[in-house]
């Protein structure tokens, strides 16, 4: 096509009837239909129960005569006064286990991401596979491993490690089982995969050439790690620590199986108040306090680390 005459003037914008087209209602409703069943499920079986629990926590009464809402906030005060050691213990154990998980998990995640080569998939399988043996069975195995007079205790004894840990109050004379150390050891073990997998995911995304670039720009391996690798793996560190700390803080399996009455965590208390003592208001109040503490810590932590879009 050839155009030889003078170029056409830009289209004059004559006023005209413009009929606006609206997207159809059916199309606009699609996301709501997709969301409805799942969200309804969460509202009814997750959010609503929390409301029920809130109401239970301010009720008074007894199992025989029934409970009634009396806005009895004293339950919270009493629960905290009586069980604050368990709360502190829970946070302490969960916090220690989280730090240990990070210290132990990071090298393994790094190994899988950068050093494993063709062994990568095998190592990954080995990290995930224990999931398929019930964690209760695996936790019971620690009873054997840490048993009095067992190999582990013997070695620690010979190296005088137990003298130090007993002095710190982590162990008792020459026992490991039924001490705080056993509980923390179990917690660390149980939640390690929850630390390693997010760490691995974020490490694996790092371009290997960044290491070379850092080395080229006069960074020693240690500096490269501090200034490049670690900052880039922060999303993994944040979600890993959350996925470890949150379940660990409410766990009572490790405390019950590997600990003693002196290592009871708040989860144990809630469980026994609810299922054995049947003091529902106290159990509900304890559970609410735990939830509030964890949510506050999580919110603060996420704000501080600046990764608010975890989901």
């Amino acid at each position: 096509m050839s155009v030889t005459e003078a170029p056409p003037a830009p289209t004059p914008e004559e006023p005209r009837e413009l009929t606006l087209r609206k997207p159809s209602t059916r199309k606009r409703l699609v996301p709501y239909w997709l969301l409805l069943p799942g969200i309804l499920w969460l509202v009814v079986f997750f959010a609503l129960p929390l409301v029920y629990q809130a109401s239970t926590s301010v009720q008074t009464g007894s199992l025989e005569q029934g409970f009634e809402v009396t806005w009895h906030f004293q339950t919270y005060v009493d629960a905290l006064r009586e069980y604050y050691p368990q709360f502190i213990r829970s946070l302490l154990y969960a916090g220690t286990a989280t730090i240990l998980c990070l210290l132990l998990g990071y090298p393994l995640a790094y190994l899988i991401a950068f050093k494993a080569g063709r062994w990568r998939n095998l190592v990954l399988v080995l990290v995930i596979a224990p999931f398929f043996t019930s964690f209760l069975i695996r936790t019971l195995a620690w009873k054997t491993i840490l048993a009095d007079g067992g190999a582990v205790v013997d070695v620690l004894n010979t190296l005088h490690v137990l003298d130090v840990t007993s002095w710190l109050g982590w162990t008792e004379s020459n026992r490991v089982l039924a001490t705080p150390m056993a509980v923390v050891c179990g917690l660390t073990y149980n939640f390690l995969p929850f630390m390693i997998l997010p760490l691995y995911t974020s490490l694996e995304r790092i371009d290997g050439r960044l290491h070379e670039a850092a080395g080229d720009l006069y960074a020693t391996p240690a500096t490269t790690f501090r200034k490049v690798t670690f900052p880039l793996s922060m999303p993994g560190v944040v979600s890993g620590t959350l996925l470890t700390f949150i379940p660990a803080s409410g766990d009572y399996v490790n405390a019950e199986l590997l600990g003693s009455t002196d290592t009871k965590m708040v989860g144990s208390v809630i469980q026994s108040q609810f299922l054995r003592v049947l003091d529902y208001p106290t159990a509900a109040a304890l559970s609410f306090i735990l939830m509030a503490i964890v949510l506050l810590m999580v919110t603060f932590y996420i704000r501080r680390s600046g990764t608010e879009d975890l989901v």
């Binding site: 969460l42 999931f131 398929f132 195995a141 735990l290």
Partner: protein, 267 residues
């Protein structure tokens, strides 16, 4: 010292392998003790080698019943959570709508909540409604806590999907249903599979929420818990070991098929 230098250079590898050993050690103990013949009721100290438990894995009352119940619950919970979670994930990635922030929080919160809190509050609801505790209450609870994890897994996959692929399908005469079945679903499949696998593992292994909401129904983890108080039969170790071996074998076979398919495609 060359030895010290070697250790320093391979510090990460050594530390990583030590962690791996720490993680695998209990599984090895479980495996070894599945061949034990304990004296008392508890299987915590080594006595002598025996194949008794392997010959009769269901030899303990209620053990295999609880195992089959756990597998059933895990199956249905996986199905339910995967279906509901996939729908939510698609809605979140592909559409704009009101209350997005609230919905995101509602999905994040169950993952940021200690299990015991969810367990206790759900039990409060069931008690208030007068629901009979058992299979159904456990299934409801499992779908609830697996849902968020499925959403997260599927969402990651759908987000990395090029929306133009679906546009291309529509452009090439595929209607909405055809587009979903022929293009969207196959491409999102790895994410959905990962979510489903996660849901299965979480449900099968769950103890705390189940313990609160199962009433007198006994799942496999609850059976193990009970036996820790009363006496641990060797059969528990047999089943734990078998599950472990089956899982590793399944993954390895899957890997093998995938790598063979890849090399076939290359030729």
């Amino acid at each position: 010292m060359p030895v010290l230098r070697w250790i320093r250079r391979n510090l990460v590898v050594i530390a990583g392998l030590l962690t791996l050993a720490y993680m695998i050690l209990p599984n090895i103990v479980v495996m070894v003790f599945s061949f034990n013949k304990p004296k008392g009721r508890f299987n915590y100290a080594w006595q002598q080698f025996s194949l008794d438990a392997w010959k009769d894995p269901c030899g303990v009352a209620d053990l295999c019943g609880s195992l089959s119940l756990s597998l059933q619950i895990a199956f249905w919970a996986t199905l339910g959570a995967t279906a509901l979670g996939t729908m939510i994930a698609f809605a979140l990635v592909r559409y704009r709508f009101r209350a997005r922030g609230a919905i995101n929080s509602l999905i994040f919160l169950p993952m940021a909540m200690p299990e015991v809190v969810m367990a206790a509050s759900l039990l409060t609801l069931f008690l208030n409604m007068g629901a009979e505790l058992g299979f159904w209450t456990v299934l409801i609870a499992h779908i609830m806590f697996c849902l968020s994890f499925v959403v997260t897994a599927v969402k990651a996959r759908v987000m990395s999907m090029d929306p133009r692929l679906e546009e291309a399908a529509r452009d090439l005469y595929a209607g909405p249903v055809q587009t979903f079945v022929r293009v969207t679903l196959p491409i999102a499949a790895p994410g959905i599979a990962a979510g489903a696998l996660l849901a299965f593992a979480l449900s099968f292994d769950d103890f705390i929420i189940t313990n609160f909401n199962a009433g007198s129904t006994v799942t496999f983890p609850m059976f193990v818990w009970g036996s820790a108080q009363r006496g641990t039969p060797v059969q528990i170790n047999v089943i734990g070991t078998a599950m472990f071996v089956i899982a590793v074998l399944m993954v390895l076979v899957g890997q093998l098929i995938a790598s063979r398919r890849k090399s076939n495609a290359r030729n």
